[in-house]
């Protein structure tokens, strides 16, 4: 209880909570805030005639203007917060669980197991994410190519060994559609973001393992499973929350970055920037077409600040050094 009091006594934490709450509300109430187009659901809602080919300034139908393809920026902003939260939370949760388990179990058993897993962790720490994305994309491409899929700018076709060609993606084998929809950024992030958690957990558990209450639990014959999850985990987990809160923002920003340079899919916020890029990169365009980049940029920055403030607050609250 005292830590909750500590947490709420700092105004920075209130700001962080408030910022995050905005995105949570936008994510939950997205269908109310900006009803989707029943014919084309998704973060890109086309407003008006697509033949205009110019970003249109804010109007009643599109409160934050439109992109060059006449998609509403406001709609993408609202639905983008849903996908950003979903992406950040799920990637962070999965990598935190993987890292926690690896770090904890290897520290508990110690000796050779520990040095093996920590060597692996350290080695993977020097593996840049961008290389993993390229590698995952190549594995997908190779699997698709060997399965007979040929990808062109207009879409994919399936070439059967008999020479027959299938154009409709609905008639592809399920496996091929699954591979076509895979996001290399998501997979690479899942594979390569658990290491900080493992290291953190490892040092914590190695320290706690030697304390008397763990010795006592072992002396009365508690099983490994019980000691790990009943005694070690609750006492070592707090720094994990700090890392995770900061990681949620980091993952979303990383995803947006990779979508912006064309390496990933999803991330409506970054897609808005991709559509807006040519208009930002024009003489005076950054002032004329402010709505193609300013709303999503502010959203990304606020999302990052919000989670980082919460992370800092948790760090102050949970870190024993400051008590």
């Amino acid at each position: 209880m005292r830590s909750a009091q500590r947490f709420f006594s700092r105004w920075q934490n209130w700001v962080g909570l408030f910022l995050v709450l905005i995105f949570v509300v936008a994510a939950v109430a997205a269908p109310l805030l900006s009803p989707p187009d029943p014919k084309h659901p998704g973060p890109m809602k086309i407003i008006g005639r697509a033949t205009l080919r110019m970003p249109q300034p804010p109007s009643k139908a599109a409160p934050l203007g439109t992109l060059s393809n006449q998609a509403s920026v406001y709609h993408a902003l609202v639905w983008g917060s849903r996908s950003a939260l979903l992406f950040g939370l799920s990637v962070t949760l999965i990598s935190a669980i993987i890292g926690t388990i690896i770090g904890m179990v290897s520290a508990y058993f110690g000796g050779f197991v520990n040095s093996f897993f920590m060597r692996l962790t350290d080695a993977l720490l020097s593996f840049p994410i961008i290389a993993a994305i390229v590698l995952v994309q190549q594995l997908i491409s190779i699997a698709l190519y060997n399965g007979g899929i040929r990808i062109y700018t207009q879409g994919a076709i399936l070439q059967l060994p008999s020479g027959e060609v299938i154009f409709d993606p609905n008639n592809f084998p399920g496996m091929m559609n699954f591979l076509l929809d895979l996001d290399p950024v998501l997979i690479a992030l899942l594979l390569l973001s658990w290491m900080p958690y493992a290291r953190m957990m490892n040092t914590m558990v190695l320290r706690i393992k030697k304390t008397e209450y763990v010795e006592a639990a072992r002396a009365v014959g508690a099983r490994h499973f019980r000691i790990i999850f009943k005694h070690l985990l609750p006492n070592a987990i707090s720094p994990i929350f700090v890392l995770a809160a900061r990681d949620i923002a980091g993952m979303v920003i990383l995803q947006a970055t990779f979508v912006f340079i064309g390496f990933g899919k999803g991330a409506p916020w970054a897609t808005v920037l991709v559509y807006g890029r040519d208009w930002i990169y024009s003489q005076g365009g950054i002032f004329t077409y402010w709505w193609v980049f300013l709303p999503v940029t502010l959203a990304l920055i606020a999302f990052g600040i919000g989670w980082n403030l919460i992370g800092d607050g948790l760090n102050d609250t949970l870190n024993p050094r400051f008590h």
Partner: protein
């Protein structure tokens, strides 16, 4: 001298171990593909793309036979790694050239970005962190904290977009890519001696300071984008450890002895706050590398990232993807070693720890 050698040997051993683990993992992922794909990893340097289909198939068969591609993992890994060490990284169908040649040709451009960003952010981050920490709660501390907070909150790719819009499109101060088209022909000609491959230094060596200036004009945006985020992170960590250090006994003792404040800060405390700052820099070396490649792509800078960009085109190209991965790991390890050596030079405690 002896402790330094020991340190170096230990460092080298850990680098080799990391390389072994990562390459083994890389090859393990490649094992997911059929043997024909793995056979493409062994295409020779002088491979001709004009081969007929039958000749190509025969070549794949020969490679499968020769490099034991149907054998268990350790055998295959051994053949692959010996080949890599001997310098044959395979032929890339998308780049239409040998992977190692393609990587080596683009390395100096990437090294130039890394070098200038380190030169920019390392001293700035350490110095501003130390100053802010030693003047806790004063004006310089507050202004540092506010600007570092803004710098860390601004995602680097957003900063890159803004820089492009302001400094290139509207003001024409800086430019994307690596060199102006007016100079690029001369640089490719025989009159321009390539000594280091770094245009800023080669320009001076060739007696053409205008080329150096032009290269700097093109380097400015990537370097500033990278340095801003790195400076803020490094400065914040340095400041935090400085604040913790302020109330320790040795600081009070030095002050009581009448040691001037600047000497207390820069000789006594500075060496103690270096280690945490460098430790965090080394842990984040891989994400710095990712950042460098991303920034290169955004600014159209012709570095090693070009290979990653081309490998994302849905065309099967295992040699290029593997080559890029291995090369970027090597760059990360080099970056870590450089930071380690600087830390070794600055922090006396490491020398005694051995």
């Amino acid at each position: 001298m002896l402790p330094f050698l020991r340190h170096l040997v230990r460092r080298l051993f850990s680098i080799l171990l990391t390389l072994f683990i990562t390459t083994a993992l890389l090859y393990a992922t490649v094992m997911l593909t059929p043997a024909e794909t793995r056979a493409e990893l062994y295409m020779p340097k002088n491979f001709s793309p004009r081969m007929t289909e039958a000749q190509y198939q025969a070549m794949l068969e020969r490679n499968i036979e020769r490099y034991h591609l149907n054998d268990p993992f350790p055998v295959q890994y051994f053949f692959w790694i010996t080949n890599l060490v001997q310098g044959s990284w395979g032929y890339s169908p998308t780049l239409q050239e040998d992977v190692l040649t393609a990587v080596a040709r683009r390395t100096p451009a990437t090294v130039e970005v890394i070098l200038f960003s380190i030169l920019a952010y390392l001293p700035l981050g350490l110095i501003s962190g130390v100053i802010a920490g030693s003047k806790q709660h004063k004006f310089s501390d507050h202004s540092f904290r506010v600007s570092a907070f803004i710098a860390t909150s601004l995602p680097p790719f957003i900063l890159a977009i803004l820089m492009m819009a302001f400094f290139y499109i509207n003001l024409h101060w800086f430019a994307p890519e690596r060199i102006s088209s007016a100079h690029s022909l001369f640089i490719k000609s025989d009159d321009f001696r390539q000594v280091t491959g770094l245009l800023t230094i080669d320009g001076l060596l060739n007696g053409r300071p205008d080329i150096t200036l032009d290269a700097l004009r093109h380097l400015a945006m990537p370097v500033i984008t990278l340095a801003v985020a790195q400076w803020a992170t490094l400065g914040r960590i340095t400041r935090a450890s400085m604040v913790e250090e302020l109330h320790l006994d040795y600081v009070t003792a030095a002050r009581a002895r009448g040691v001037p404040e600047s000497r207390v800060v820069w000789t006594h405390m500075f060496r103690n706050v270096i280690s945490p700052a460098f430790a965090s820099s080394m842990v984040s070396a891989a994400s710095l590398m990712t950042g460098i490649f991303v920034i290169e792509i955004i600014f159209n800078y012709p570095g090693v990232s070009y290979i990653a960009l081309r490998s994302m085109n849905n065309i099967p190209d295992a040699p290029a993807a593997l080559g890029f991965a291995i090369f970027s790991i090597i760059l990360v390890l080099l970056l870590m070693s450089i930071l380690d050596l600087i830390q070794y030079g600055l922090d006396p405690r490491i020398r005694e720890k051995v």
